[in-house]
């Protein structure tokens, strides 16, 4: 996976994020950078995902600088969520859709929990139960976006499935 492909993709995600935040109701807008990063790491071998990790971290940092109260929160949560996916991928067969969806969902939840922990350390008054009660719409939005990416990658990577090679 090359930087000349990954950088424009994540830059487009950074630019489109405010558009989606305003467009979709109930806070259901997916976190494009996080979702794309997780799905790319889920799909591709760990040797190829270093550009995803580095570029995604930089874009998350820029996103924090633009809109969040403090910079660095999303980077830490993103790196740890991606690390979870890369780690679990070594031990579990992710070619099964249900397994892949489960790992992806776990990584999304880890991301939001880490964000809450970091905000709590910074003095945010919101409790864990209140914060988690506000994220279902966002989790669903992220999940749907991730599954769309999954199907796109699946079709693209299996485009030669009709060439009779495997028969």
């Amino acid at each position: 996976m090359k930087y000349r492909v990954i950088v424009p993709v994540f830059a487009a995600a950074l630019v489109l994020q405010p558009f989606l935040n305003t467009l979709l109701p109930w806070g259901a807008a997916p976190e494009l950078i996080m979702s794309s990063g997780l799905m790319l790491c889920l799909f591709f071998e760990s040797e190829k995902v270093l550009p995803v990790l580095i570029t995604g971290s930089v874009m998350e940092l820029l996103s924090d600088m633009a809109g969040a109260q403090y910079a660095g929160f999303s980077v830490i949560a993103f790196v740890l969520a991606v690390s979870l996916v890369i780690f679990v991928r070594q031990f579990i067969n992710i070619e099964n859709f249900i397994v892949a969806a489960g790992i992806y969902l776990a990584a999304i939840l880890l991301y939001y929990v880490l964000i809450w922990i970091l905000y709590a350390m910074a003095g945010s008054p919101y409790g864990f139960v209140y914060a988690m009660s506000k994220i279902p719409a966002a989790v669903i939005g992220n999940f749907i976006f991730g599954m769309i990416l999954y199907i796109v990658f699946l079709v693209r990577l299996n485009r030669h499935r009709r060439d009779r090679y495997f028969r």
Partner: protein, 271 residues
């Protein structure tokens, strides 16, 4: 070095985490408004403004199609409200001489209040912070318009919060629920009833009355008292619950903010 080459992903993750922790610490220390953050914010706010406007335009047009009846009803109610306000304005109008006398008196007393329109900058919200449980947003005005850190932000419904960071053409605003800062208030019905409120862990406002056996009632409207960082007379919300805490011997209250933070579009910054 060999270990780093053999464990590229792990090394990159550790390096990025270490850098992120340093950036996080620097950001928390409050030195994040200048330098790279300021420059990037100036550039990104331009992009954000247009992307948010596009999203809002589509969202409003689509929601308008499905809420035609509600919009017609709201339109009728607003027309009636305008007529009532016009009548009230006619009844309450001061002549120029009385207004000038009051202005001279306030200047003589050095009374700090929101006076002329020069003291207020109106701004549009260009982005929220992306988390559904916080109410931190960015507006399209900054230091070029005279906005400084700590300036109070209000809207038509009441008190919104304070400016936490500024750039040349952007500013981040923290709502009064997000801050763990205590706000001094008084009841609009009886200005002798004073108290303190702050944001709680479940996204509400909670506080206590300074007088032990206060007669505050549910439904009372609360406004800022002028003590502390907020000017006098800004609407905060309505009391939703009152109870006596025998442990602390204080009358405690819960307050519903008058501002719907998720539906905010335009705000005003008091300079």
């Amino acid at each position: 070095m060999r270990w780093i080459r053999e464990h590229k992903i792990l090394s990159a993750a550790i390096g990025i985490l270490a850098a992120a922790v340093i950036i996080f610490s620097v950001s928390m220390s409050g030195s994040g408004s200048g330098g790279i953050t300021g420059m990037f914010g100036n550039l990104y706010s331009y992009v954000e403004k247009h992307m948010t406007a596009a999203g809002r335009a589509i969202s409003e047009n689509v929601s308008g199609i499905f809420s035609y009846r509600e919009l017609m009803k709201e339109n009728e109610e607003l027309r009636d409200e305008i007529d009532e306000l016009k009548e009230e304005m006619n009844r309450m109008s001061l002549n120029e001489e009385e207004l000038e006398d009051l202005r001279e008196l306030s200047a003589a007393l050095n009374y700090d209040f929101i006076g002329s329109s020069d003291d207020i900058v109106t701004a549009t919200i260009i982005s929220f912070d992306g988390l559904n449980w916080t109410n931190i947003f960015t507006i399209n005005r900054g230091s070029d318009s005279g906005i400084e850190e700590g300036d109070v932000v209000i809207c038509g419904d009441g008190l919104v919060g304070r400016v936490s960071q500024t750039g040349r053409n952007w500013a981040k605003v923290m709502s009064l629920i997000d801050e763990s800062v205590k706000i001094s208030f008084k009841s609009e019905d009886d200005t002798d009833m004073l108290g303190i409120i702050e944001g709680t862990s479940d996204g509400e406002l909670s506080g206590y009355m300074l007088e032990e056996k206060s007669k505050i009632k549910e439904g009372s409207r609360l406004v800022t008292s002028g003590v502390g960082m907020y000017p006098d007379g800004i609407d905060i919300g309505r009391v939703s619950e009152v109870w006596y805490d025998s442990d602390t011997q204080l009358t405690r209250i819960k307050v519903t903010p008058s501002v719907d933070f998720m539906a905010l579009d335009k705000v005003s910054v008091v300079l």
